[in-house]
Symmetry: none
Subunit: 270 residues, 2 copies
Amino acid sequence: MEDRAPASIKQFEERLIDVSESLPKRLRQCADYVAANKDRIAVSTVAEMAEGAGVQPSAFMRFCRILGFSGFSEMQRLFRESYAGGWPDYSTRLKHLREKAEGSASALLGEFVDAGRASLENLLKTIDPKTLDDAVEALAKAQMIHIIGLRRSFPVASYISYAFEKMNVPAMLHSGVGGLDNHNAIRTGDVLLAVTFSPYSAETVDMVEAVSARGIPVVALTDTIVSPLRKFETITLSVSEVDFGAFRSLSATLCLAIVLSVAVGTKRSE
Amino acid sequence: MEDRAPASIKQFEERLIDVSESLPKRLRQCADYVAANKDRIAVSTVAEMAEGAGVQPSAFMRFCRILGFSGFSEMQRLFRESYAGGWPDYSTRLKHLREKAEGSASALLGEFVDAGRASLENLLKTIDPKTLDDAVEALAKAQMIHIIGLRRSFPVASYISYAFEKMNVPAMLHSGVGGLDNHNAIRTGDVLLAVTFSPYSAETVDMVEAVSARGIPVVALTDTIVSPLRKFETITLSVSEVDFGAFRSLSATLCLAIVLSVAVGTKRSE
DNA sequence: TGAAATTTGGAATATATGTTCTATTTTGCT
DNA sequence: AGCAAAATAGAACATATATTCCAAATTTCA
């Protein structure tokens, strides 16, 4: 459609960036999906690529032509030919990375990726399905969900807050901006979702104590079972995250946070 | 022909060795060629493989059956699936899951854990070490690091902000609380770290545009290479993450965020 | 050496996959 | 709001590719 077809992956990428500024909806989806899944082009059919991008095969075809190819086959040929023999698998790649790049940013990346994967794997083993269901049910029944999580837990709390908003779940994030803590906003019929990790911030623990004394249900997202929240009557989901140095990779925690949000959101919309 | 088809590359190799002792001439050629060119199976046609081995397509077909497959296609599927790493396609799987709405909380958890692990693995493949180093260096040299990331990117921005604070790196989080945007706080010698994902929030893009026009370096953390930040001169780290409708599992993104924070922190303290 | 069994080549067929076409929907503009 | 242009979905069509079949060639063994 435009000039000639890209002759290398590099040219292909340039072309993709070039073109994707001004693309209608469906074609944009193609561009996004392709950008994120270049490696699949070599081994997939148009139908698979189209489904992945969430469009019709014909739309994907148009996309190929906009990129300068005569069709999908020609585009695929480029990727098949440049496929030199596969990357090393994950574990060898990781090993390689650490050895040759000791102390560099890339080596760090390897470590954290590894830690994250281990944490996620561990999450599956440690989460009790029953407790998870209980938490979802409690939150789904709430008139309003109050979320608190400060300092290192704040990213998690703010993420949950965003997710709830998107799913039309009434929720309020207690961020303590300006030193205002709106304890009184929490009313009978509401539920508190508290997120806290060692070292546990006092404000969060205080809030849980106060609220739980009033008989309001509390769902807690915390590390290990010895957290200070344990002494109150809470539904406790504990996540043990693999640390690297002093830094906590939040992979597992955020994963659980999404699950909780989505599960609550879908349950409420039923 | 024989018993059942190999279910993994490992099994495939064992089977190949097993069988190749007692093979007639043409089939032996197939075995030899395949052993030396396993990687081509994923991206070739029977005709191509047959030609490579110096036999007729039909001979190659027989060879596939002797290995236990129903035909070439089945054998190829094995290699295609193991090639593309992150199979099956999580975004479509999750889409189906939501459509069928049969996702119990635990099932959801499984899906998201898988998705997170795939995203992390993918991160290793897509991040360019050179770009990562450049980003670390730019940030390490900054007098002050300004962080912006709104809406869905806010958890990431706030996490980075927390990490920098803990490492005594001068940083300022532009959260837009109260509608105040402190553009003027950004001065020569500073660096902007912008986090944004589709749909890209206008405020972030605007800030990048304004700041980059003033010649201030910008490091961008974004998804795919086609994000709107691309048109400015930024050091772009792109992360492709599996998402669930409007929800992004931030595993890979946060992992990169930690790496960036820690690398910058240690570099500055040297 | 000759008959039976096995292996092979190549054409015929079935199937999967890519591509095109057009009615319908959406978008952009006055 | 109404019109023209662009974009899209889905089915129809064309092509590439896998698979099967069988006659011819080769091997095996008495």
